[in-house]
Symmetry: C2
């Protein structure tokens, strides 16, 4: 190695340390709602934080090893789906009929490809089914038994609906039926957005929907533009909140379109959009990453399980406001 | 009546004649695709035009008698659903399993209320089911058997799936199965946007989806933001085209958001959005009305069944480019 080359290397090293450039990043949510410190034991709080950390690190490690944001988002969400703590996969809330009906979606910001599934009952990891719809079908959105048939043909793990059901969610359903309303039920969702070293953004969201939901209700999670959106030129977004209000406000795309058309920051765009949701009577939160690696975590509820990790060393895991 | 009052009346009359003010308006589409003059008999062309005219007039008459745009859109779409000519209601295309599975949605621009249903097989008029979801449920989007149960409870007409099936669509399915692809199948949809005397915009869309569709595929039609969007502050939009590309581009809301954030006309906004659809490899068309009563009818296919009528006397019914 000659002297001038060594000097160049040193300069590059110093520059990369100073510029704080974000090569890759990942952000995660585990649902927003009436999450209050006073109602949470120290053990539960720790359990949530450890699981969020585990999920974030799984995705981060993929990104660090030059992996794609698609792989990072899928693996991160699978960990949250496999945990009973969150309303997605195992631990999903129960419908009015006492079964788990799950929705999920994923979008690739590089080519605007997207996949979504709704009302599935026997696919262990709904986010993987959504990804297969994106990559292995001519469609974007499959539902119910058709979606399950497709996932089976693609070789995904099929599992009995009983697997998803937990005692906690059974109790919630009984309480909700006593109240006979969906209004007071805390909503939950899991979601992840990642940007990889190649500048590709992927967003994914997965949920069991609302406790006591009826009539094969579909929320915002599988709706591209509402629950999930990704575009390398703007940002990636994953929503969690009162789905009906998020659909009516086209939340995820409304944030992206403000970045594109108003040239404002992801933070300001999200503030504007969440205000629209609130003005209509809804609430919830959003996470996102813009094309420069800036992280968004915003919500108008008491809390949102959330966290992020960036290649520049910054990270955070939080629950309350 | 005194002299000055008469003069005022006269001035108002002259002003209203000159300003060409649009008090109310309605626009309709019956699907876009490979619709070529050379493949159309004079009889069929006349049949399409007469049915479009009948549907437009039904809605127009409601608006003229101070009716709401919600009523106008529902009644207009019902006429198109009840006709075998269009891919919605009776005359819907057949899924891979040889049944009719219909999607529809409606949105009220006054309060951003919305209703949508997908995968229904036994509701005579899907647009009416979507409206009931909007007005009589806490949800926005219901699907499959749950949506049918809801519609039944609301007293809607239930009808055997056989009712919807026509010989023409059976032949199309057989042809599509021979080709084993969804790519070459002309898509069809019906849609309507209206603005009433009170400035309220409603948009609605209804379809049987794509011939030979599998796995309970959901297209753009029931997706608020993609197939349908309405906002009194911007515009109302109904889409028709290759649904997957319309979902990925969040077509209906992309037009509205450009009006809101870029302050451009509905025509220019639609042009930008349809170009995005084309750049990804998709095609189709959109209709709409902005808050000032300006009519949009644009498409990048060979034809689109379409027409409009405005309170200032302007009207048009067309099929080809």
């Amino acid at each position: 190695m000659n002297k001038s080359f060594s000097l160049l290397m040193l300069l590059c090293f110093v520059y990369s340390c100073n510029s704080n450039k974000v090569d890759f990043a990942i952000v995660v949510h585990g649902g927003a709602g009436t999450i209050l410190k006073k109602n949470m034991s120290d053990e539960m709080e720790l359990a949530y934080k450890l699981k969020l950390e585990e999920a974030i690190n799984a995705g981060y490690n993929i990104l660090e090893k030059n992996g794609s944001s698609k792989d990072a988002v899928e693996q991160t969400i699978k960990i949250l789906e496999n945990s009973e703590l969150f309303n997605a996969g195992k631990g999903s809330v129960l419908s009015n009929k006492g079964v788990v009906e799950m929705d999920a979606s994923i979008m690739n910001g590089k080519n605007l490809n997207a996949g979504a599934i709704s009302g599935i009952k026997t696919i262990k990891n709904p986010i993987s089914a959504a990804r297969l719809v994106m990559e292995k079908s001519e469609h974007v959105f499959l539902s119910g038994e058709g979606a399950e048939e497709f996932a089976r043909l693609q070789g995904l793990d099929i599992i009995d609906n009983e697997y998803f059901i937990t005692e906690t969610r059974l109790k919630s359903l009984l309480n909700a039926k006593k109240r006979d309303s969906i209004k007071d039920n805390k909503f939950g969702t899991v979601g992840c957005v990642a940007i990889d070293k190649f500048g590709n953004i992927t967003s994914g969201t997965s949920t069991g929907g609302m406790t006591n939901k009826k009539w094969n209700r579909i929320g915002d999670v599988p709706i591209i533009g509402a629950g999930t959106y990704a575009n390398n030129n703007t940002c990636g977004i994953s929503s969690t909140g009162w789905g009906e209000y998020f659909i009516r406000n086209v939340v995820a795309y409304d944030i992206s379109s403000q970045i594109e058309y108003k040239k404002i920051s992801i933070d300001l765009a999200a503030k504007n959009t969440l205000r629209k949701v609130k003005d209509l009577g809804g609430n919830g939160g959003v996470i996102g990453i813009d094309k420069n690696g800036n992280i968004l975590m915003d919500f108008n509820t008491e809390g949102m399980y959330r966290g992020y990790k960036k290649s520049d060393g910054e990270s955070e895991i939080s629950i309350y406001k």
